[in-house]
Assembly symmetry: C2
Homo-oligomer: 649 residues x 2
Amino acid sequence: MPIDKNSLPKPVYLDKIRIPGGLWEQRQTINRSRTIPVIYEQLQKTGRLDAWRLDPDRERPKRRSVIYMFWDSDTGKWLEAVGYSLHTHPDPALEKQVDDLIDLMASAQQPDGYLNTYFANLEPENQWANLRDWHEMYNAGHLTEGAVAYYRATGKRAILDVLARFADQIAALFGPNEGQKRGYPGHPELEMALVTLYRATGDKKYLNLSKYFIDERGQDPHYFDIEASERGEDPDDFWAQTYKYCQAHKPVREQTEATGHAVRACYLYAGIADVALETQDQELVDVSRRLWDDLTSHQMYITGGLGPAHSNEGFTFAYDLPNETAYAETCAAISLAFWAHRMFHIDPHSRYIDVMERALYNNVLSGVSYEGEHFFYANPLTSYPNVNPHEHFSGITSDRHYRRSEWFFCPCCPPNLARIVASIGGYFYSTTADRLYVHLYNQSSADFEFGGQAVQLEQQTNYPWDGRIQFTVKTDTPAQFELALRIPGWCRRYTLEVNGQPQSITPQNGYAVIARQWQDSDRVTLVLDMPVERMSSHPDIRQDAGQIALQRGPVVYCLEEVDNGARLANVAILRDGQLHVEFDADLFGGISVITGEAVRIEPASWPGGMYQPQSVVEHTQSPFQFKAIPYYLWANRDPGEMRTWIRRI
Amino acid sequence: MPIDKNSLPKPVYLDKIRIPGGLWEQRQTINRSRTIPVIYEQLQKTGRLDAWRLDPDRERPKRRSVIYMFWDSDTGKWLEAVGYSLHTHPDPALEKQVDDLIDLMASAQQPDGYLNTYFANLEPENQWANLRDWHEMYNAGHLTEGAVAYYRATGKRAILDVLARFADQIAALFGPNEGQKRGYPGHPELEMALVTLYRATGDKKYLNLSKYFIDERGQDPHYFDIEASERGEDPDDFWAQTYKYCQAHKPVREQTEATGHAVRACYLYAGIADVALETQDQELVDVSRRLWDDLTSHQMYITGGLGPAHSNEGFTFAYDLPNETAYAETCAAISLAFWAHRMFHIDPHSRYIDVMERALYNNVLSGVSYEGEHFFYANPLTSYPNVNPHEHFSGITSDRHYRRSEWFFCPCCPPNLARIVASIGGYFYSTTADRLYVHLYNQSSADFEFGGQAVQLEQQTNYPWDGRIQFTVKTDTPAQFELALRIPGWCRRYTLEVNGQPQSITPQNGYAVIARQWQDSDRVTLVLDMPVERMSSHPDIRQDAGQIALQRGPVVYCLEEVDNGARLANVAILRDGQLHVEFDADLFGGISVITGEAVRIEPASWPGGMYQPQSVVEHTQSPFQFKAIPYYLWANRDPGEMRTWIRRI
C-alpha cells in the first residue's frame, strides 16, 4: 500500500486546543511561570544571549569545548518554547523580550547568511570544517524550529527570514551538484527543521535539502572521512570510534537497527518520517517501521527511556537496560515522542501513540522537578546515594544524592522540556477529512472543522489518575465525522457509551471509531479500566530478572526511601498481595498513590564481615505496607534511594 | 603494645620452599613455560626492550601517552618474575637472556644516575616535572624490585648497582632539606621497593627515603599543586579531579578510608606496612589497621577484587560492588595480597592471610588463562555477551564476549601475575625464633632452622580441592618449636591429629599452635571441613540482594553458560536444595566441581513486546541440575554468560 499523503491524518496544531485543567494544565502553568523564565536567566547568565553581539575581540573560553559550539541551539529551543507558549497564552512583555533578542540575533547574521555565534565570534576560519562534531547544522535546525514557532504564534517574519536566509546558504553550499560539498549534519535535527521550514514557507528547496541530507548520510566515500582528512586528521581517530554513533555507518535506507547516540538517532528518524510523508516515499516508511520495531522491541525502558550508556549517550545492544546507570537522557525520551508522533502520521496506528504516551508520562516529565526549576539530564530507574548515572567519577551532589540540577554545562534538556510541555496540545488530536483521532486524554477543549462545519470537542477527565473520560461535542448544526478514540495498549478492558448507550466497537488500528452524525451536546463516555499492573519485562532483560514494576494506566510507579525506608533492594512485593490505589489530593497537586503488601528480606542479625554462609545468617521476612508514587515525581521530596523495578516474591 | 620488630614473624623466602605438585605447581609450571616467555615476546614486540638502546633521533609515538611513560615498569616486573623463577628453577639460557638485557639497561643510565627510557629518549627536558602523573618513581620502584629479585637469585650485582645509583639520585633530589624537592610518587610503589633495597643492601638511606615519601604525602603546601603551577598548569585542572585518586588528599597518618585508584592504594598501604615494621612505628601500624578494616569490611568483592569503577580504576563508596561492571583489576587483587602479607608481619593474625588467600584463589588467578598466555585486566563477577567492564563504548572482542587478551596497551597485569605466581612459595610460611607459621596449604616441602637445628616440613594435600593436609616433620635430631597452622576463616569445623592423636587446640589469632619437641617423621594431620557454602553478602550490598554465591574452601564458584545454558539471570538455586561436590580429574588438570538443584524462572510463553502485565505472563519454574566451576577458571571454554552471584529461591 503506497503512501498517500492526502488521505493520511494530520496533526491538529496547538492553537486549536485549550487545556484549562488536569495534569497538563499543571505542567504548562509551571512551565510558563517558572521553567521558561529560569531558562532565559540561565541563557543570559551563561553568556549565550550576549554571544549574539558579535565582537572580534571576544575572549575565547579557557578551554575549547564542543559544548560552546552548540550554545545557539539552547536559544533556539527556548525561542521555540516561547513561540508555543505565546500561541496559547499571549504575553506582550515576553514578546517584547523576544523581539529584542531577535534584533540581536539578526544582527549576527553574516552577509552570506551564515549564523553561528561560536564560529562568527571565535573561529570564523573553521566554519563548516567539521560537520561531524561541530554542530552548526544542529544549531541551524533548532533556530529554524524556534523561528517557525515564533512566526506562527506572532505572525512576525523577522527571525523566520533570518533562518530562511541561513537555510538558503546551507542549500547553496551542500548538495550533489558541482561545487557543492556532499555534507550532512553530524547531529541530525536540521532534517526535521527543514521540513518545518518548508511547511511554513512553501519553498520546496528546503524539503529537497532535507531529503538530500537523509539520502547522502552514510554514503561512500564517507563525507566525515573526507572532511577529517581535509582538517589534517586521520578519519580513524574519530573520538566516538564508529559512525554508528551518529547513524552514518551506512546509508539510511539500509539501516535496520537503532544505534549510537539516542537523541541523534530519534531526531534523524523523525526527520526520515517527515521526508517520507512529504515525498510520499514508501521505502522511507518501511525503513522507519523497521527502526521503530527494533528500538521499541529491544532498546526501550519501561519509562520510555532510551540509551542506557553514558559513554555514547546512547544505545548498546538488544535487551541491555541497566537501571541504576540508565542514562535515559531526557532529550532522548522527548525525541522518541517527536518520532512517535510522526510515525502515526505516516502509519496511523495507536502503537506509536502508546509509546509516545509512555515516554511523556514517565521519562519526559521526570526531566523536570515538580516546581519547574530543576532538571534531570539522565533518568535512572533506580537510584542510590553516591551513584551518579552521568559518571561515577565526577561525583554527585553535595548531599551525595542524585538530584535535579539548576542547569548543565551541556543544557540541551531544559529547553527541550520547555518546548514539548508548551506544545503538548499539539499531540492531542489528528484529523483526516472525516475523522477526528483523539490520542491523549486530558481536561481540554478543541476546535475542528468537518465539511466546512465548525465543531468543538470537550474532554472532562482526571486522566491519568482516573480512566473515565467524558467527551462533549459542540456544534451549531449536526456534523458528520468519525470520532476515533485511542484505546491505549495498556488497557485491557474498557466501556464506551454514546449518550448513555453502551457501544460495542472493535478498535481499528487501536482506535475505537464512532461514525455518526454528531448533534450538539452529544456525549461520549469512555471508561478505561485502570488497575495497577505488576509488569514483567522480557526474559532477556537480565537487569529486571525476578522483579516487577508497577504501572497504572500510562504511569509507571516507583518506591522512594522517604516512603519506604532504605535498602530498597531488600524489599520484595508479594506476588499475589493486595494493591490499593488512593487519590491523594494534597500530594503534588493531586496524584494517585499505590500501596500494597511487601516484605523486607534481611538477615535477622549480621555477625560482621562482608560475606557470611547462609547457614550462619538466617534471612527473615518482615511484612510492611509499601507506598509507590509516579516515577516522574521522584526526587522531589527528601533525598534517598529509589527503585522502579522491585523484587517479586 | 608497641611494635617490636625482633619478636615479629618474618616471611620465609621462596628459596627455602619447593612446590612439586598441586595447584600452585601447575600454575608455576605454566607461568615458567608459557607466561614468562610470552611476556618477553610482547616486551620485545612492543619496543619496550629496544627502548633501552637510547637514541636521540628516536621517533616519538604518534600520540603522547602516559602509558609510554611506564614502559620500564613492565620490564621491571618481568625481571622480578624471572628472578623468582630462576631461584627455584635455574635456567642458564634464560639467565643469559636477562644478562644481555641488563647490559643494555645499564647502558641507558645517565651519568647522574637517572634511568627512564621514555624521558631519556624523548623528553629529557621533562624529567621529574610531573611526579603526579608521569610515573618515573613508579618505574624506579618496579625496576628496583626486579633488580633485587635477580640479585638474590643469581648473586649478580650489576642491575642492583644500577638501581641503587638511581635510588641515590632520587634520594639526593627529593627530601626535606634545603635544595631538595618535597616530592613523592604519584603512583606509589617505590615506597615498598626502597624497603626491599634497604633490606638487600643494608643502606638505611633507602628506608629513610621511603619513610619520607610516606610522611610527606598529602602535606600542605601540596607538592602536586606546586609542580603543576611550575608546569604552567592550573592545579585544579587535575584530570582525576581529586587527590583521593592517588591517596594524597591528606597526610597518610590522617587517612581512614581506602580511596581512589585501587592499585595505587594497596601499593601505598603495603609500603606503609613495610616502613611501620622497619621503623617500629606504632602509629603507622594503627593507620594500616584502620585502612585495612575499611577496605576489607566495605569495599572488597567476594573474589578478593577491589575497585569497582572503571573511571578511576578504583574505589567508589562503601558497599558499592556492581558485579557486571566490576573493574576489580588483576593488579589490585595482587596488590591486596602484597599488603595482606605485610599486615600479618606487623600484626600477626590469620585475618590478613584469609583475605590474601581469598584474593589469590579467585581474583588473582582469574587474571590469567588456564594455558597461561591470555590475561584479564578487569575481573567482573558477572559477564554477558557485549558487556565489557573496561568500557561500554570501546567495544568487545570480535565474538562479542569479554575474554582474556594476549596483551594490553597498558599491560601492568600480565607481568604482575607472573611475579606473584613465581614467588608464591614465599607466601607459605613465616617464622619467629621458635614458631613456624603455615599460611597456605599446597603440596610442598620447606627448610627451616630452629635453635640452630635444620628442620624440614612436608605438606601432602590436594588443597584447595580437598581439606586434608598431612604434615611430616623431618629433622636429624629432635627440635623444639611451635607449629602454627592457619585455621582459615572460611572453615567452621576441623580436626587436628599429631601422630594419630586427636588434638583439641583453641586457635590463637587464627592459628592452631602445636608446641612440641618434634621428632623426625612426626605427622600432623589437619582436616578442614570444606562443605559448599551458600554465601550471603552484607545487606547493604544492593547488587547482591536476593542472591547467593557458592564458595568451597577459599574458592568462589561461578556458573557458566557452557554448563548451564544462557539467561543465567533467570536461574535460581534452591535454598535448601542438594549440593554435590565431585573431583573432575579431566577438567583443568583436576578441579572440584559443584552441582545442585536449580530452577529456571521464565514466562511459559512471551506474547511479544518488552513489558507485559504479570497477569498475562505466567512465570514457570523448570528444575535443572546446575554445574559450577571455580570462578578463576571462567572464560577458558566456550564463551557465554557467567554469574557468580545467583538468585536464591
